[in-house]
Amino acid sequence: MSQASSQSPWHKAWQSLVRNPLTVAAMLMLVVLILLCCIGPCFSPYGPNDQDLELRATSPSLAHWLGTDPLGRDLATRILHGGRISMLVGLLATAVASIIGVGYGLIAGLAGKRMDAVMMRVVDVLYAFPFITFVIILVVIFGREFWLIFIAIGAVEWLTMARVVRGQVLTLKDLEYVQAARACGAGFWHILGKHMLPNVMGSVIIYASLTVPGVMMLEATLSFLGLGIQPPDASWGVLISEGAASMAAYPWMLIGPSVFFSATLLALNLVGDALRDALDPKSVRQ
């Protein structure tokens, strides 16, 4: 994010992002959704777990904009509050996945042929692993605590990131400037940190932005199966699962959280695609 010159690649990328109205709309939508989830619950007269057993399930009204569930809890508050958890898991799990993936990919790409072959075979094996069993076993080992869910998700989502980074390093590591650095006596970790990492950052940002929706989907899957966020707390996966169970009688319980979840995924995907177009010189031609 150098602001020294208006010609920096980051600046150019930003300009090409802002030029597309669809991307601007998606970014605005994302900001609005994030703000709603972060500060929305503070303005609600209801708590996310406040029960009103006399009220029970009511359809949307002026007092409860998105209706209530069978325990009389205000759905709008619960959706916004659940959004916090879903987004937080999405962000943290992506961070975990990116750190593992980037580190693994950098080392595999730079550490020489034999090491690379071994490390990439390990990735191949993990690709053929049933994802969901892996996460479930991890959740079973770790327990169903919030902090451990995103570590479990991050631990399975790093594979593609590692492949992307390793591929980039392979093309970069024999370029002249790296040879020059080597000739000057630069060590392994210096080349890795100073010359490789900054150059793969573009792909890392693109891929990380596309990982967030995938991670949120995985969290929702776990919560849907009862293995993720535990009641009375709710994430969007929990709310959709509750809604799906009672959709015939109270369809608003399914519609509300589904709309929020899909809208967030849509905005994230659009922003991710736009980032790829802006930062990846290859896709500009298309």
């Binding site: 094996v125 053929a128 069993t133 479930i136 991890l138 995907n269 659009l270």
Partner: protein, 306 residues
């Protein structure tokens, strides 16, 4: 070509062996045992039952027993459902999952390829915009949202199908639709990308200059190459679909394989968890082998290099 197939097969077996070892290690790391849910069993019975399922042996011996039993197709008996081999449990669930998964795959291809091709042939037209928007929407609709909505509309309101369960001959339709619609979005995207990239290449310009018709250009010259990204995607996807999507099988309450992936790990049914993981890995390896073979066949630049 024989060398190509042989080396791929060898790699495949190594992958399956790796999956087996990792699953074993993870299961042994997890606290608890298959007997934990049965309270108050006398000590001598517990010891007996541990011995019966081989759980009293040292870990390397247990791992070796698994490898031998899977290699010789002599499968262990599930500790949780006495008297039934894990192969029987899989053989019962797989047809359900495979039927739904195969139908979903066909729906995804039938919807996705024409949609993507139409968009690629007329860039920036109305068709392109509509198909791109539809594909993006499809990717952003989780099956846990689409499934219940389809069940609500076609099951509970219109009563065309059962909303859940596996009773009638047409109970595969709604789950297959759910998965097919979502995956068609990915396939449309890949088809559009692949076809547009191919159409921009030099040999297509040559074909145009020769005066080849538009139909010949699309079907004879570019389709084979444009299919490659889709093909790449189809390998793992087909394996994933056929072993049952857990969410879809939960929403529609299907007696497929998906439930075992969750149930086995949660119940510490070690044998079943090992069997499902190995079965899944074998399917992935098998489909990737087919994809590699087809790719080599379609793209002479890749070829059968071992």
């Amino acid at each position: 070509m024989v060398r190509f197939i042989f080396s791929r097969l060898l790699q495949g077996f190594a992958v399956i062996l790796g999956v087996l070892c990792i699953t074993f290690g993870l299961l042994k790391l997890a606290p608890g045992s298959p007997l934990q849910s049965e309270r108050n069993i006398p000590e001598h019975i517990r010891v007996q039952r541990m011995a019966m399922s081989g759980l009293d042996q040292p870990l390397p011996v247990q791992l070796w027993r698994y490898i031998v039993s899977f290699a010789t197709f002599d499968f262990p008996v599930s500790a949780k459902t006495p008297g039934r081999g894990v192969d029987e449990i899989i053989a019962q669930g797989f047809p359900v999952s495979a039927q739904v998964g195969l139908a979903a795959l066909l729906i995804a291809l039938a919807l996705g390829i024409p949609m993507g091709a139409l968009a690629a042939l007329r860039p920036n037209s109305l068709e392109d915009r509509v198909s791109t928007v539809a594909a993006t929407l499809g990717i952003c609709t989780p099956s846990m949202v689409l499934g219940p909505i389809l069940a609500l509309v076609f099951g509970l309101k219109l009563r065309w199908f059962n909303a859940s369960g596996w009773y009638d001959a047409d109970d595969w339709v709604l789950p297959a639709m759910t998965l097919g619609i979502i995956y068609s979005a990915y396939i449309a995207r890949l088809t559009r990308g692949g076809l547009r990239e191919t159409l921009a290449q030099e040999f297509i310009r040559t074909a145009r200059a020769k005066g080849a018709s538009e139909a010949a250009i699309v079907f004879r010259h570019s389709f084979k190459l444009a299919c490659l990204p889709v093909l790449n995607f189809l390998g793992p996807t087909a394996a994933g679909l056929m072993t049952g999507s857990i969410i879809t099988e939960t929403v529609f309450q299907l007696p497929g394989l998906g439930q075992h992936f969750v149930g086995a790990a949660v119940n510490r049914d070690y044998d079943l968890a090992m069997a499902t993981a190995v079965f899944y890995a074998a399917l992935i390896v098998g489909f990737n082998l087919i994809v590699d073979f087809l790719q080599a066949l379609l793209n002479p630049r890749i070829g059968f290099k071992a």
